[in-house]
Each structure stands twice: as C-alpha cells, then as structure tokens.
C-alpha cells in the first residue's frame, strides 16, 4: 500500500481549516495579556501620570529604564504633585517585557500595549524617550512610523493588565483600584481569581471598559 499511505496525513489535513497566516500581510489577534511596547498614560485631565519616582527603573531586571525626576513647575504643572518625570527612557534592545515596571508603578503611569512589531536600524533608535512613550491627546498610544500597529494592540493598554490588583492582593475583587485615565475613563473592576461571579460596579462610560470586567480575569 505504501505509496498512498504516505499521503494519508496530507489528505487529512487538506480538509481541515488552515492555521498558517501570511504574516505580515495578515496579523493574528494577540492574546489578551500580551506584553508589548510600553505607554506612559495621562490622567483624564491630560496631566501625565508619571511622577518620576524611578521605582520602575529600580525594579527593572534588565536595567533598561532611565528616569529622572524634576520639580514640577507650579505655573504649568506637568503632573499632579511636586515632582514629574523629567526624563523617561526605555531601551528596547534590553527590555524583556516582564512587566515588573508596571507592577512597581505607584500611579499606573507605565503600562504595556501589545505591540511588539517594531524595529530599528541603529541602537540609538531603540531607546524610546518620553516623547514617544507618552499617549497622545486622545489617550491612545502614538502610532510611530516604524511600528506595525493593529487595532487590538492598543486595546486595554491600561492598568488592569496587572498580575495583581493595585492593592497587591490577588483577592481584591469587585472594587475599582485604579484611577481614571485619559481615553479610557474609569474601568470596570477586575474579577480577580474568583472568576465570573464578581459584580461590576464601576462606571464604564468610556469605550473599552465594557468588555473588560468579564471573562479574562482568571488568566494571566
């Protein structure tokens, strides 16, 4: 039989749905909590959330973040409070997207989008500065010319993509533990480890909030 036996697998697979995509013409949706290029968020009033505390730089295992704080000018404040992030740089040749910076951030200023498709032609370009990391006036990540964005990359870039609740407790369910954010508003509470049963109580007027609170809580 030998001759046709060899084609058994081939013929079987011919009638199954195709999983290979023609990358990059065709982009697959990314997992809900994929870790990609960072963004620096703003408060709803447009102020920067970063206060230049350097906790992200301190926790970074790849030592790819460089932050310097400065005195916030009182006449034209850049962030609420005394101090703002004066310099913020991430070296993407070093970053391993572990998200510890997101965990460490006390103000949810730094979070990650799902974008990983970006490349450079020299080392200096791999260092993103604050100008590139900051979200735009609409609260959405800037789509820089050398980056390949698909629409879901920027969905839910906000702080809910944390492994733990902002209080640090995994069972901190059903409460909003984060602040309002430009472009996203106040998001629905996270359901935490308990799964689907937790009740969403937060105001999710703004955009993406509605599909957040359900279904994704268990995995990360």
């Amino acid at each position: 039989m030998g001759y046709f036996e060899g084609f058994r697998i081939t013929f079987k697979e011919m009638f199954k749905p195709r999983v290979t995509t023609s990358y990059p013409e065709e982009l697959r949706p990314k997992p809900e909590r994929a870790h990609g290029r960072h963004v620096l968020n703003r408060h709803e009033d447009g102020m920067e959330k970063c206060i230049g505390c350097e906790l992200c730089a301190g926790v970074c295992p790849a030592r790819c973040i460089y932050v310097r704080g400065a005195d916030n000018p009182t006449d034209a404040p850049i962030s609420p409070g005394e101090r703002y992030g004066f310099v913020y740089e991430i070296n993407y040749l070093r970053c391993i997207h572990c998200d510890l910076c997101v965990e460490a951030c006390p103000t949810e200023a730094i979070t990650e989008s799902k974008l990983f498709e970006f490349s450079f032609t020299n080392r200096a370009d791999a260092i993103y500065t604050k100008r590139e990391l900051l979200v735009g006036d609409d609260g959405r990540p800037q789509r820089l010319p050398w980056e390949l964005w698909s629409d879901d990359d920027e969905a839910n870039t906000s702080a809910w993509v944390r492994a733990t609740a902002s209080s640090g407790r995994a069972d901190y369910e059903g409460r909003v533990g984060w602040s309002a954010e430009l472009g996203y508003g106040i998001r629905a509470p996270e359901v935490g480890q308990a799964g689907e049963d937790a009740v969403a109580t937060a105001d999710d007027r703004h955009g993406h909030g509605d599909d957040v609170g359900h279904g994704h809580g268990g995995g990360h």
Binding site: C53, E54, G58, R68, E82, R83, F86, P106
Partner: protein, 839 residues
C-alpha cells in the same frame, strides 16, 4: 551603684542587664537603647541621635523594662541601665506598643513616598515595614499644609511629613547654636517652623536634612536629583576647608548629587557645613575647563595637550636657560592632594631648579611657624585646660572646628580666651575676650603679661592671666585679618609660647590642603616632611638629583619680583592671585609683569584668563589621593566620578612637564608618589598606604612630625605700637564662609548666599564721621578706594572698619598694601541710601 561610690576608684564596672533573656554587660550610665545596640539588638527609634541629648519625643523606642517594680513600657532612650534590669524588646507587649506608636505616627504622615526624596532610605518606611502595622485603618482626611516651604536657601520643609521628633530643632539649638527653627503651635497643630522673617540661615542647616528621619527636611540642591537605590557611594574627605571632615560622596549616573557627613570621633562627628555639603555643584559645573588653552593674540584658544605641554615646556626651559632657575616661580597648590603637591614640589626643585614655590597666597602665616610649633589635635584642643584663639572667625573659615569648640565650651566647660580685633562668632562662648588694635596683637600679649594696658581692661587681662596658668594650654593660631601683616600675630603667638610653658598650637589656616602642601614642601625653604632646605639637602639631593642652592621667594616676593620683571615664568597651580592675594595692585602688576604665565586650574578665573598656557586639571572626587588637615591628619580621598573633557590630575601634569623638560619624576601612579613620600619625608615615615587604607586610617592618621624647623629670628620681646592716625580707621578684612571664590560661585545653590560687599563700622565711629547706617561710603587707603554701603555694627571695635575679603566686586584687596604693617583707611559718605551725591 553605691559600692562604686564607696570604692571611688572603680570607675568602669559592668552593669548586668537581662536583655531578651540574655545577660549583657552594659556600662554604668549607658542608656538602654545604646546598651542593647552594642549587644546586637536594634531598638527602633526616630528622635534618638548618638550626638545629641535624648528627649524621648517619638516614643518609638519604648520597650518593656522591669526595674524591680514589675515590667513597664518605658522609652529606652531615656532610661540608663541599672543592675538587675530586665529588658524585653521582642515581647508581645513591646511589639503591640511599637505597632501602635507607628500607627499613630502614620496618622498624619502622607503616603507620598514615591515623590519623597527620603523614600528608599527612610527610617519611617523601614521601621514601619519591620515593626509597624501591615495595613492602615485610617480612612479620614490627613492634616494638610503647604508643600514644601523653603525655610532657607538650601533647605525645604514639608510639614505634612514631619513626625515631630525634635532632631532638627535640637540640632539647631544645641549643636549649631543657631536656634532659628522651633516647634510652633500646640497639640495636633504642632509644627516645625522658622520665626517670621527669620529664615533658617545657619551655616549648618544641611545637617538637619541628613538627620531628619522622614522626608520633612530636604535639600534644594539634591531635590529630585536621584533616588537612594541609584546612588553610588564612596567615603572620602572634604577639602572645602582644611578641617578635613569625612564625607560620603554620592553620585548617580556619573554625576555628584550629594555629600553626607560621616561620623568620626576625631574630626567632624558626622556634621558638615553647608559649603562643604553643597559645593559638589561646582564639580558638576558646565564652566569647568575641559581642554588645554593657549594664547593666540588676545584670545585663549583650545589646543591639544601635546601642543600645550610643548609650548609650556619650551617657555619654562627657555626661561631657565636664559635667565636662570630663579626666574621661575610656582605659586599655589593648596587645591592639590599630598601626592600632587609632592610631584609639583619635586618638579620645581629638581627639574626647574627653583625654590620660589609657595602654596600660600600671602594670606596665611610663615610656614616655619605653622609646621614648627608643637601641635595639638582637635580632640586635644577641646580637652585642653584653656584655649587661646588668635586667628580668624572660626565659624566663617573652619565651621566644623567652631562646632567642636562650641561643644567643648557649652557641654564641657572649656575656657576660651579670645584675642581678636573685633567680635567673632566665638565671642559669646569665650571666657575672656580681648581686643587688640589691628596690627598690634603682640602689644596686647605684652600688656597681658606685664600688667599694663588701660584700666578698663585690667580685669579682663587679669582673668586671662589666671586662665593661662592652667595645665595644657592650646592656641588656635591663624591669620585674623589680611589687612594686617602676619608678623604681629606670629610675634604674639611666640610671646605667648615663651610665657606659657608647654603651650601647643592648632593651625587655623583655611585653604583646602594647605597643610599637606606645606608638608610636601610647597613653601620656600622647605622640603617634604617638614624639613628645611638645608636640613634635608643631603637626603633629597640623593633622591631627586639636584636641589636649588638658596631659599626662594614667597608669593608676595614672587609677585614683587615679577612686577619688576625678574620672573620670566610664573606657574599658577590652582592659584588666583588676582582674587586671593591681599594686595590686588601688586598681584595685577605681578601677573602682568611675568614673562610667561602657565596656569593649571579647574576654572577660568581672573588670573587664568591672563595666562599664556592653561592646563585643565581634574577636581575633587575625580581623583584619588590623600589630604592633610589642620592637625596634620592624613586621610584618603577617593575618586567617584569621571573628570570632564581631557582634564588630567595635577601629578600627571607635573610628570608630563618634567618629561618635556628632559627630566623624569619617576611616577606612574599616585600610589607610587605616596610610597616615595613615605620613604623620604621624615614626618610621614611609617604612614604607609596599607596603614591609611586599614581601619586605622578611616578617620585619618596624624603625621607627627619633627618640630625643630622653627628658626625665627623675630625679636619676641620688642613691642611695636604703631602710630595712631586720628583721622583714620584701621581696616580688618576677614573671609565669610560664602565668598567670591570659584567653589561657591560655581555652585548655583551657594552663590546667592554670599553677603556681598558691606562696610561695617562701630556706630560711635560713624556718628563721629557724620555717616548714617546704609549710606554709601568711600573707603580710601594709600592704595586705592572702594565705594560700598555701610552698616553700623556694635560688634566692630571702635577705631576699626570691617570689610569682608573677596566678596562680589570686593575692594578689600584694592585697599591693602602688603608692605605696610596695617591698612589705614578714611571713610567718607558719598550718598544717602541708594542715591549718589553728585559732586
């Protein structure tokens, strides 16, 4: 305790205390908190500080103590140990109490740790994690205050964060003696603040930032510059003045951001003055010289090291060949480390062949007096029977020495006799304050011992005489004023010494490493190791190849010779005679008259701009080496950051020049220089690099040198009363801590603190002259005239007028003629308030 009293002799006997079930051996009178710490048990604390009296403010250190009446919660920082005492620091009761205290301390403490400069090194953070509650129960609104308020130019106060531990206020009152901050209001409203219209303008205000256990007090120069976890630290020695305080130099991203005082018993006890603490900004300055410069026409243009060194070497070689070695002079060197000073000393003597080297700028004392008189350390001075102050205002010039002496007076009853021309900051601590007419210090000392003088000072003189009878008298000797010649002060000191047997001296020369420079022979007629040219000739000729034949000129002599065209090459090693030499006219003529001027410096000072070749040198914290303080204590300096541009260490510059002049100093590293110093310099024999690097060297090791070099021919007995000109006032010109020097002016935080040029005179003198306070006056001497505002100040003695040296646009140097024993000036009004009176 009673048996100790009965025996009388049993001074130190252990007290047995049970600490957490273990019997420990405490010292009598020791506080429980300290005894526990020595035994390895850390009791949390906020207000307790080893260098200040306990107050028991914060209650953090309460532990269960049983003194025989049953266990009770007592503050361990207030309770001395007693025989049989039982202390429990880890019992549930203690834990609960500590937890409760922390919860209360946190009630009003804002959780802005991420923006707080203290976050990451904060005792409140650390102890809350270690001893405090895991979670807050406090949901109410916290106390709010304006964040932060500037209580001085360099210190900011955030009252929300303050936990009222009384450390800063106690420091200001009991250590610094500047009680300018205090608790105000009561109860829940209590806060630390300054008094209205009186900023916390203390020279020591930076220490409150260092000892604040929370982030309530922060330093403006460090504000938001870095976080504790990205700081690199190295222990070094401060060279802002010559006290030699130990500091921790901290940098972040290769930039200096902060100095912290290191607690060493022998010197600074952990304190620093604000100048020393904040002048790291000058090292970071954009204005640093980064590349060699050479003169092309009227301009100094950047050249390569090779070109600059070749140009300098050919000028020096040419001068030596055509006009002889004595036409070359080296001025300056107090900025250098010991190693660098030695290299320059060797270059000057063995390669250039000149003995005209002087690290002093004509504002110090003769080097044989500084090096030759028997010495006392700071500790010995503070423990002396009587201390005679014959020198500058210590708070202005050697601030930490002032703190140490003040502590000795206030807490240990030290008797101080002050001999000065006007009131100083030590006057209020002096047992007797004697005033002399500028230029006549020796006359006063004569009167002291001969029962002469006016009737109204007889009582003071008598008391001073009685105090001088004490065992163990130490004289703090410096240059009280640059407007009088050093002779009279030296004569006064020698006269005191001849009348007070066993008297020892502590030098009060202020420049950074001036004592190291003098030790290394940067003074005419001196060789490294405190030996004179003749004494050391044999040893050093063998080691160095050749020595100059005769004693050279000091700075004043060099400038005078240069003005007369007898100096063909003048080398300024970190020296700015146009700003620092007391007689600016002579300095100007000298620098202009020198055939060729080579400047080695960190900044383009006035004198550097006159130079023909400028070689940029590395600065503090950019080089390693050793430095020597007022006591002769040698301690190590460490490199922390990389120097800007192509700057080189001064020793390397000396070696490079020697090489191009056909000589060879024989040094590859700074360590090799120290090995040669240790081998050749008598005073430094045995001070090996290993010893200095060992734990013994942490606070520095005093180089105990020979004192046989004092060869003064001065007539100690002659009295020189100067004729009194009834129309003139005598000028007193002293330094303020913040002046027009590069260190202060290149530090943006310190530069505005320089008080500026103000003439001060006694109100009675001003009345007599018909001048009102705040008028603008013209002060004229035989040399020149200065116009400045005048202030009536009763602290200035009658017949004198005070004008600080080297302030912005300072004219004191324009008035002084160094050839005269004292500067006499006439004062006349030229305007009222800000208005000029037109001719």
């Amino acid at each position: 305790m009673t048996d100790i009293a009965e025996n009388g002799t049993e001074a130190v006997r252990g007290v047995a205390v049970t600490l957490n079930g273990r019997v420990i051996d405490a010292q009598p009178g020791e506080l429980v908190i300290n005894a526990a710490e020595r035994a390895g048990v850390y009791i949390p604390r906020f207000c307790h500080h080893p260098r200040m009296q306990p107050v028991g403010m914060c209650r953090m250190c309460i532990v269960e103590i049983d003194t025989g009446r049953g266990p009770a919660l007592l503050p361990s920082c207030m309770i001395p140990v007693a025989e049989g005492m039982v202390v429990e620091t880890e019992s549930p009761v203690t834990r609960k109490a500590q937890d409760g205290v922390l919860e209360f301390l946190l009630v009003n403490h804002p959780l802005d740790c991420p923006v707080c400069d203290k976050g990451g090194e904060c005792p409140l953070q650390d102890q809350t994690v270690a001893f405090g509650p895991g979670e807050s129960r406090f949901v109410e609104e916290k106390r709010h205050h304006e964040k932060p308020i500037a209580i001085s130019d360099v210190v900011q106060l955030d009252r929300e964060r303050c936990i009222l531990c009384d450390r800063c206020t106690r420091f200001a009152k009991t250590v610094a003696g500047d009680p300018l901050i205090s608790f105000v209001n009561r109860g829940n409203e209590t806060e630390v603040n300054t008094f209205p219209d009186h900023p916390f303008a203390s020279y020591f205000s930076g220490n409150t930032v260092q000892i604040c256990p929370v982030g309530a007090l922060t330093a403006t120069p460090y504000r938001f510059k870095a976080r504790p976890w990205d700081l690199d630290q190295v222990e070094s020695t401060c060279t802002s003045c010559s006290v030699g305080c130990r500091v921790a130099v901290e940098s972040s991203s290769n930039q200096l951001v902060r100095y912290l005082g290191v607690d060493v018993d022998a010197v600074n006890w952990g304190w620093l003055c604000d100048k020393g603490r904040f002048d790291f900004e000058a090292v970071n300055s954009e204005n640093r010289l980064a590349r060699p410069l050479a003169r092309q026409g009227d301009d100094l243009v950047e050249v390569s090291w090779s070109d600059a060194l070749t140009k300098a070497a050919s000028a020096l070689g040419g001068a030596k060949e055509r006009h002889g070695s004595s036409s070359i002079a080296v001025v300056g060197g107090a900025r250098l480390t010991n190693e660098e000073a030695y290299a320059w000393s060797k270059l000057a003597r063995s390669v250039l062949g000149t003995d005209s080297v002087d690290a002093q700028m004509g504002d110090g004392l003769p080097s044989d007096v500084v090096l030759g008189l028997p010495r006392a350390t700071i500790d010995e001075t503070c423990a002396a029977g009587t201390v005679v102050l014959l020198g500058p205002d210590l708070k202005e010039e050697l601030p930490i020495l002032y703190l140490r002496l003040r502590d000795a007076v206030v807490n240990h009853g030290l008797n101080v006799i002050e001999i000065s021309a006007s009131q100083t900051s030590m006057t209020r601590y002096a047992a007797v304050s004697l005033r002399y007419r500028p230029g006549e210090a020796a006359v006063l000392v004569q009167e002291l011992f001969e029962h002469a003088g006016d009737v109204d000072v007889q009582a003071d003189l008598g008391r001073a005489r009685a105090l001088l009878e004490a065992n163990n008298v130490v004289c703090v000797l410096g240059r009280p004023s640059v407007a009088e010649r050093a002779d009279s002060v030296v004569q006064a000191a020698l006269r005191l010494r001849s009348r007070v047997p066993g008297m020892r001296f502590l030098s009060a020369l202020r420049r950074a490493n001036i004592h190291g420079a003098l030790d290394m022979g940067l003074s005419p007629g001196m060789l490294p190791g405190r030996v004179s040219l003749e004494e050391g000739r044999e040893v050093f000729t063998e080691a160095w190849g050749q020595l100059p034949g005769s004693v050279g000129l000091d700075t004043a002599g060099v400038l005078r010779a240069a003005a007369e065209g007898r100096i063909q090459a003048l080398i300024l090693v970190g020296a700015d005679p146009l700003a620092d030499f007391p007689d600016r006219d002579l300095a100007r003529r000298g620098v202009a008259g020198a055939g060729f001027v080579l400047a080695v410096d960190c900044f383009a000072t006035d004198s550097v701009r006159q130079a023909d070749v400028v070689l940029p040198a590395v600065s503090y914290a950019e080089k390693a080496g050793t430095t020597t303080n007022i006591e002769g204590r040698v301690s190590r300096l460490h490199q922390k950051v990389t120097a800007p541009g192509t700057t080189r260490p001064d020793w390397m510059i000396a070696c490079d020049l020697a090489e191009r002049l056909g000589g060879d100093l024989g040094f590859e590293t700074a360590e090799a220089i120290w090995d040669e110093i240790e081998r050749l310099a008598p005073a430094h024999s045995g001070l090996t690099a290993q010893r200095l690097a060992s734990s013994e060297g942490l606070e520095g090791i005093v180089a105990a040198g020979p004192s046989s070099i004092l060869e003064t021919t001065m007539d100690v007995t002659a009295t020189a009363t100067l004729p009194v000109d009834g129309y003139s006032l005598r000028l007193v010109s002293t330094r303020k801590l913040y002046d027009n020097g590069t260190l202060v002016q290149q530090s943006p935080s310190l530069a505005p603190l320089a008080p500026g040029e103000v003439v001060r005179a006694n109100p009675a003198d001003l009345d007599r002259l018909g001048v009102a306070s705040n008028d603008r006056v013209r002060v004229a001497s035989s040399r020149g005239a200065v116009v400045a505002p005048v202030e009536a100040d009763a602290a200035v003695a009658r017949g004198t007028v005070l004008l600080a040296f080297n302030q912005s646009g300072s004219g004191a140097a324009d008035l002084i003629d160094v050839s005269l024993p004292v500067t006499e000036v006439r004062v006349e009004t030229v305007g009222i308030g800000d208005r000029e009176v037109s001719g």
